[in-house]
Symmetry: C2
Subunit: 292 residues, 2 copies
């Protein structure tokens, strides 16, 4: 009956291979050496007697059977994370591992204070903060709680709106003064990815404007603005917390809300609840910094 050696973990390797595309990437995600991934895949193939990947010059390409294996392995992963969630839900202790994710700049500007308060109240909690703009998969439990800039929690998650937001134009004090003094001079915009021209709403009062430079990262935009290189559009909270001066070039614009979201099963768990007890009052108290 059980000639086959255990191979659930081999299927996991197949899943990660399909998901990440190369041995190296899969290995990184699995936190093992890529050699191991190759061998696990080979084992799985032997165990099932099927070729799961074709070894082409450009790398491993999944066969139909390989895709099917990954599909079923994904179900296995769902069950496994389901178990993890059930444990997290049942865990009423305010201690042990707890992970949150949020955009870097929001952490730097505000959440760091919430985190400090939370850890002060609950020193037993081993908090992991994943500062990332990437949308981590909460279903897969890449984090317990996410603070996201989005319109809604999304289909499969539950959440709570923390605050509304606006964007506005900011510049260094020096640049701000210059603009005030000589409003007719050319406005140098610091753009974010895919901007090709200055925002329309700004052209009414300051038609003499151009995109001076562009970045794909908001930290870079922020740095350039602080260095006095020009005017940038950014969330109100960011400009303010960075010590920039709001300039009237672009009037405040509505922007995406900030939400705290979690998986349905986790939302009411002890540690998430405790974190929310720090989070909500903080945002209530600081709501003014997010809007004009």
């Amino acid at each position: 009956m059980h000639v086959m050696r255990e191979n659930w973990d081999d299927l996991r390797a197949v899943l990660f291979m399909v998901r990440h595309g190369s041995l190296a990437a899969a290995a990184t995600a699995l936190d093992v050496n890529y050699t191991t991934v190759a061998r696990r895949i080979a084992q799985a193939e032997e165990s099932y007697g099927v070729l799961l990947f074709e070894r082409l010059p450009q790398g491993y390409v999944a066969t139909d059977a390989g895709l099917l294996a990954a599909c079923e392995a994904e179900k296995m992963e769902d069950a496994e994370t389901g178990f993890r969630r059930a444990l997290a839900k049942a865990d009423t202790r305010l201690s042990g591992p707890f992970s949150i994710t949020a955009p870097q700049l929001l952490i730097a500007a505000h959440l760091c204070h919430v985190i400090e308060e939370f850890l002060g109240k609950h020193p037993e909690v081993e908090l992991t903060v994943r500062a990332s703009n990437a949308l981590l998969n909460l279903n897969r439990r890449e984090a317990d709680l996410a603070i996201r800039i989005s319109e809604s929690p999304g289909d499969t998650l539950v959440g709570r709106r923390l605050t509304g937001q606006q964007t506005a134009s900011f510049a260094s004090a020096e640049v701000a003064t210059r603009i005030e003094t000589a409003p007719e001079a050319t406005i140098d915009w610091i753009g974010f990815t895919y901007w090709t021209k200055p925002p329309k709403a700004s052209l009414e009062n300051y038609p003499n404007a151009r995109i001076k430079m562009q970045f794909d990262d908001m930290s870079a935009v922020l740095g350039a603005t602080q260095a006095g290189l020009g005017v940038a559009r950014m969330p109100m909270f960011l400009g303010r917390s960075a010590g920039l001066t709001q300039v009237p070039v672009l009037p405040p614009q509505p922007y995406t809300d900030i939400w705290a979201v979690a998986h349905r099963d986790i939302w009411a768990s002890a540690k998430v609840t405790a974190f929310k007890e720090c989070l909500l009052p903080y945002f209530k108290a600081h709501a003014a910094e997010f809007m004009a």
Copy 2:
């Protein structure tokens, strides 16, 4: 993120522990040493930070978390066997592993001929025959095809009725002659488990009867009957193939049908189809041996 070492196989150990009740039994089923099962469980507990089993003097007893883990692991197992089935279904070759299960005595009396024919036609197939009265779990893919004595394929399986059956009373030639000669003498019955008296229908014509001995195994009943120890009720095919003489003590009685059953996904696969092509003609040709 992935501090946890891979642990899907550890969950499998938990599942088997819950299913089989002791380290030794789980280990046997997993085909590993029981020490390994204990260590896997310990690893899983560490990895999830939860006690899955309580170590009581009478052995491991699953905690709520342990039962939950087993439940989720069962879902993982379902996904895994689902993949195996998909492979089997897609496998159009008439070669490689193929397993069937059937009651021992039916194999000995008839199926051995079907098997011989099948292997003659398809010598590349590596056939495993699991002769067992236990109902193997075809969902879990303990066998690809089962020949069963039952009323219907069951909820989750599909199948085909091979033949009806009757039981009757059989005895050795010598005993049969004695009964014919002296019908009024005491009839010694050889009973099967839980029989407490001779079958009612036999008492009308042969009221002078008693249960002489009882077995819990039909092979034993058969042996005792062949040894001339008495009369036994058994499936018609069995008495006939064993060279026993049918005696009129108990007239033929309706008995459970014989079915070939398989998982829905496997039923139409190449090897199952090929086997059925031997099986159905055989039962058509030998139908008379199962009924009066």
